[in-house]
């Protein structure tokens, strides 16, 4: 049977179909949702295919386009009211550029929707408010834009724009509704080549334009709420229109079957229709081949895939069964009794179907055949709901997403040639979004981390001068190894061996202590920060009851002093004079840091990247000093030892000299050491601490020791890595000395 000839027009994309085919637009290079990949895995490892990277994205259904090693997609920031087109690398998910424009878009079943269309030079994207952008593919600069509303008098459809632009070698095709049913624009300038008038003012819905050759004439197919239509490709005249009512919104696009038939399905009880388009001379006529009512079969959101003269799509009945239909509309097989997919997306590659379960995020791999449902593998890689966005496959990597998270997985047999030399491993919840100058990607090769051993304890509970009576909260270690502690209403300084050097009182109970590069000692308290010189003389007090709540950590970045405020749930930036500069981590919406533990800890690494504990979200977040979120490590996971459990963990953190991140957790208390990639290096178990400990402050020195505050026994545990233990254990150490990592 003659296959419909879309390939004639997919031009540039075909040139590189061999091994690494791009996915340059919605539904792939030929707009048929089929990837010409080979050598894909037919079996997956028990945990599923390896996840190369994952990103947090704004709520929505915006799939990606892939060109070369770049991935392009739409995103949005609800905190800043900015709409983005982002470009990240395919191998690592590292951001290359981000185009941003201010747009207030309120969520209406998600925000972002469409897939950009890209080629070597340009990136074309439609935003939810029907503004069409042409960006430079290398830099993300905006070249020109058009607005459906202002330029064509269209109305933004309910639930925002879902149409994905269609690119041809020299033009881009859009269907704006309003004054023009369809327009062809020049890629470089955006000038109109032709437009199809819209006398009936058919409104814009969510369907995308599909190229086809029907009755020997190249045309573009589109569907409105009043029926599908075909427009001539060369000059945009309306060739045919088949009146058939569709309800509310049309999300799927017309599917050309062969040179004469078109299949159109839609949601909201609209059913499906197969029509035949024929031509006599210049007159086109259409007739209905069959019409399935709403109770029979329809696909709500996704356009079916045509393969071996059968159509494959997820239907509506029984929570979304993946159905194989023959060309007469008869159901050949469904996934009944096996799986239901709600509104999940699907893709065909290498005779394999990849289908997402919309509700759960489970990805299923099916063998593509026309006789039965045969599942080869399945994996749960995405957390959750509304995994409806279209997927994209290129170079052996599949990019998929659910409502809020996007991941890239390796589905090819051999890992495709990638920038990174190390094999991709499954990393727990790591986000690699960073500006190009930030160190990200694979950690450098290093020897295995030695376990830690408790070497001594310092201070303790009591009323003596070297002891604490009620509370021991903060700790900092200066460059000479002197241990500064704060608790009750006093600061006590100990030598590395544990002898009390001196102490002084503070006006209020101190919650944290930090030593500035110039030697000033900062003590964070409720509503204020006191600054002392190295001998303990009070220099000044920064008091601000309006702004400062409870300062639980202090750090220094450049000239700025960073105060972590657990009550305001953000980090305040002050300069050396005590002038307020700004906040970090406090978005306009009130999201951001969640601190059920009541403690916010921060530390600054050598590159002035600020690490904070977002304990309610079970991760450590990284910010620039400007307040931009770079990424995070850690995730909630009860089974994986690298994950965090409980309501709020980790509570405190410190960074070792080697750049590793040491965090303390509670219930049960312990210390965990991670590298910057989020891989767990070692654990110091609960035996070293009182089981009721929580919010244990931690500090490091430049010799690799870890100092952890036991908040119940009111002493400081000093841990050293095994081969470099400092001296014999002290006689009055707690009885459970044998610490194991």
């Amino acid at each position: 049977m003659r296959r419909w000839l879309l390939t004639i027009w997919a031009g540039a994309v075909l040139a590189s179909t061999a091994a690494a085919e791009n996915w340059p637009q919605f539904r792939g290079p030929r707009r048929d949702n089929i990837a010409r990949a080979t050598g894909l895995l037919r079996q997956w490892p028990p945990d599923g295919p390896p996840v190369r990277w994952s990103l947090d994205v704004c709520q929505g259904y915006a799939g990606v386009a892939i060109h070369g090693d770049r991935v392009y997609f739409n995103d949005y920031s609800q905190d800043d009211n900015e709409w983005y087109v982002r470009c990240v690398t395919l191998d690592e998910g590292r951001e290359v550029w981000r185009y941003r424009t201010t747009q207030r878009i309120r969520p209406n079943h998600g925000i972002t929707r469409a897939v950009p269309a890209v080629d070597d030079k340009y990136v074309f994207s439609l935003d939810p408010k029907c503004v069409f952008y042409c960006l430079d593919a290398q830099t993300g600069q905006e070249l020109w834009r058009k607005s459906f509303v202002h330029d064509y008098g269209a109305q933004i459809p309910p639930w925002y724009n879902g149409q994905c632009p269609l690119i041809e070698p020299d033009r881009v095709i859009l269907a704006p509704g309003g004054d023009a049913l369809m327009v062809a624009l020049r890629k470089d300038t955006g000038d109109e080549i032709w437009r199809t008038p819209n006398p009936e003012k058919w409104p814009l819905s969510h369907s995308s334009v599909m190229p086809a050759e029907l009755a020997g004439v190249k045309q573009y197919l589109w569907c409105t709420l009043f029926g599908p239509l075909g427009v001539a490709a060369d000059d945009g005249r309306l060739l045919w229109f088949h009146p058939r009512k569709f309800n509310v919104a049309v999300a799927p696009s017309p599917l050309p079957i062969d040179g004469e038939r078109v299949f159109m399905t839609a949601g909201y009880d609209a059913g499906s229709i197969m029509l035949r388009v024929s031509r006599t001379d210049d007159q086109f006529t259409t007739e209905t081949v069959f019409d399935l009512g709403g109770e029979e079969w329809n696909s709500e959101v996704h356009t079916p895939i045509l393969y071996q003269d059968h159509m494959f799509a997820v239907g509506k009945k029984r929570r979304g069964l993946f159905t194989c239909l023959d060309l007469s509309g008869r159901e050949v097989w469904t996934s009944q009794n096996h799986a239901s997919f709600e509104l999940g997306s699907f893709l065909l590659a290498d005779d394999l179907f990849f289908i997402l379960e919309g509700k759960t995020g489970v990805l299923r791999l099916l063998e593509a055949n026309t006789s039965e449902y045969r599942e080869l593998a399945s994996a749960k890689l995405l957390p959750g709901h509304d995994a409806w966005a279209p997927m994209a496959l290129s170079n052996g990597k599949l990019v998929l997403r659910d409502m809020t998270r996007m991941i890239c997985i390796d589905v090819a047999a051999a890992p495709a040639a990638a920038a990174s030399a190390a094999a991709a491993t499954r990393v727990a919840g790591v986000s690699f979004v960073a500006p190009p100058d930030h160190r990200a990607g694979e950690p450098p090769a290093r020897p295995a981390t030695p376990p830690y051993r408790l070497v001594r304890t310092i201070a303790g509970q009591g009323s003596g001068p070297a002891q604490f009576a009620e509370a021991l909260r903060g700790i900092a270690v200066d460059s000479a190894g002197r241990i500064h502690t704060v608790g009750d209403s006093a600061v006590k300084v100990f030598s590395p061996a544990g002898e009390l050097l001196h102490s002084w009182n503070t006006a209020r109970p101190g919650h944290c202590i930090a030593i500035a590069p110039d030697g000033t000692i900062y003590v964070g308290q409720a509503e204020q920060v006191e600054r002392f010189d190295a001998c303990g003389n009070l220099r000044d007090t920064w008091r601000d009851p309006q702004r400062l709540g409870l300062i639980t950590a202090i750090g220094f970045a450049g000239d700025e002093v960073l105060l972590a405020d657990a009550r305001a749930r953000c980090v305040h930036r002050y300069d050396q004079k005590g002038e307020f500069q700004g906040d970090i981590g406090r978005p306009a919406r009130g999201r951001g840091l969640q601190l059920p533990s009541g403690v916010l800890d921060l530390t600054v690494d050598n590159e002035n990247v600020i690490h904070v504990t977002n304990s309610g979200r079970h991760r450590v977040e990284r910010y620039t000093t400007a307040g931009e979120l770079l990424g995070h490590i850690g995730r909630f996971d009860g089974r994986d030892p690298a994950g965090f459990t409980g309501c709020c963990n980790p509570t405190n953190l410190a960074i070792t000299g080697a750049g590793d991140i040491a965090v303390t957790v509670k219930a049960p208390p312990g210390v965990k050491l991670y590298n910057t990639a989020g891989q767990l290096l070692t654990v110091i178990g609960p035996d070293s601490f009182d089981p009721a400990c929580k919010n244990m402050s931690i500090a490091t020195d430049n010799q690799g020791h870890l100092y952890v505050v036991d908040t119940v026994r009111l002493h400081i545990c000093v841990f050293a890595p095994e081969p470099a233990a400092l001296g014999p254990p002290v006689a009055d150490a707690p009885t459970n000395q044998g610490v194991q990592p």
Partner: protein, 345 residues
């Protein structure tokens, strides 16, 4: 010979009253044991827009909520039932007043019948009790237990006072009775057996498993046929299936001439009451003081409850008609003081 029949009315000692009170408390007290039925009607709410997104200070309205019927309604009903039973006892056994009983029956017909529309009643409660005893998932409310047990307890103590003054179904038949015909014995006996069959059928159907949806299809699902074939509730509601209105109407027309046909031949609760009242501690004594054996009361009872010139406890429906037929009653009415002299015979 000492005056008075085998059973004389004597003032009940206090301990019987306290026993009654204790039993009432037993049935009404107790801690609630809520069944663990939780519905997991759960949809993701993240897809709904937040108030901040909607803007302009919009506040999501609270969903319309209607609380369940307050419990004191049901408690009041139980209390009124207990009170009506006790008043009935006093009216019939102590005051021996037909007029008073009619007034009580009328009041109960209005309250329990037309106002509460006859539901829930002790007759139907048989089914609830049967279901609750056999099905671990069936629930029964405290008040239904009390409504079921109170008339039975009174039957053990005082006889079928429920039938006489309280039951609205009985009251409606009582009030329409014009000219009672006597039902001959050969008809009366087998008809009385119909009650038994009805009771057994009702219990059997009430203990079947409840309908569990389209998947399973037991031949007989649980059906409360006493409620379904209740002849007078459609009158109380002024609505109901046509066939029941016809049956109820037919029974009422029959009740013009035959005394309380439903109560005597159909009521399943009457089976229980008749069993328990057989040994009641106190019962209707037709004569106020001494037995004359004159036989003038023999035609008094429209329900055939006078056998051998005595009120048969299991069939006596406490209607208080017979008192006025007794000559001793008229003597007492004329002469308010109770007679203390013994007649010669």
């Amino acid at each position: 010979m000492k005056p008075g029949g085998p059973l004389t009315t004597s003032p009940s000692p206090r301990r019987h009253r306290t026993t009654l009170a204790a039993l009432l408390l037993l049935t009404l007290g107790g801690t609630p044991l809520l069944a663990q039925h939780q519905y997991d009607y759960h949809r993701p709410v993240e897809a709904a827009p937040s108030e901040a997104d909607i803007g302009e200070g919009y506040v999501t309205p609270v969903v319309q909520y209607h609380p369940p019927r307050p419990q004191w309604h049901a408690a009041l009903d139980v209390g009124l039932l207990a009170a009506a039973l006790l008043i009935g006892v006093w009216l019939v056994l102590k005051r021996r007043s037909r007029a008073g009983l009619l007034a009580l029956a009328g009041a109960c017909l209005i309250y329990f019948g037309f106002y509460r529309q006859g539901c829930i009643c002790p007759i139907g409660a048989i089914q609830n009790v049967a279901a609750a005893l056999t099905d671990p998932d069936a629930l029964i409310s405290y008040y239904v237990i009390a409504i079921f047990l109170l008339p039975l307890i009174m039957a053990v103590l005082f006889g079928r006072v429920f039938c006489g003054g309280v039951c609205p179904l009985g009251a409606i038949q009582e009030l329409v009775l014009l000219k009672p015909l006597r039902v001959p014995n050969w008809l009366d006996r087998p008809l009385r057996a119909v009650k038994w069959l009805y009771l057994l059928l009702a219990i059997w159907l009430a203990t079947r498993s409840a309908a569990t949806g389209a998947d399973s299809d037991p031949t007989f699902t649980r059906d409360f046929i006493i409620c379904r074939f209740d002849p007078f509730v459609p009158f109380f509601r002024f609505a109901g299936p046509t066939y029941m209105l016809l049956i109820g109407g037919g029974l009422l027309i029959l009740a013009l001439f035959v005394g309380r046909p439903y109560c005597r031949y159909l009521c399943p609760y009457g089976v229980l009451l008749s069993l328990l009242s057989r040994f009641s501690w106190r019962s209707v004594n037709i004569t106020p003081d001494k037995e004359l054996d004159c036989g003038l009361c023999a035609d008094a009872c429209p329900y055939g409850a006078i056998k051998n010139l005595r009120a048969e406890r299991s069939t006596c429906l406490y209607c208080a008609r017979c008192f006025n037929y007794c000559p001793r009653h008229r003597v007492r009415d004329r002469d308010p003081q109770p007679s203390t002299t013994t007649p010669s015979d």
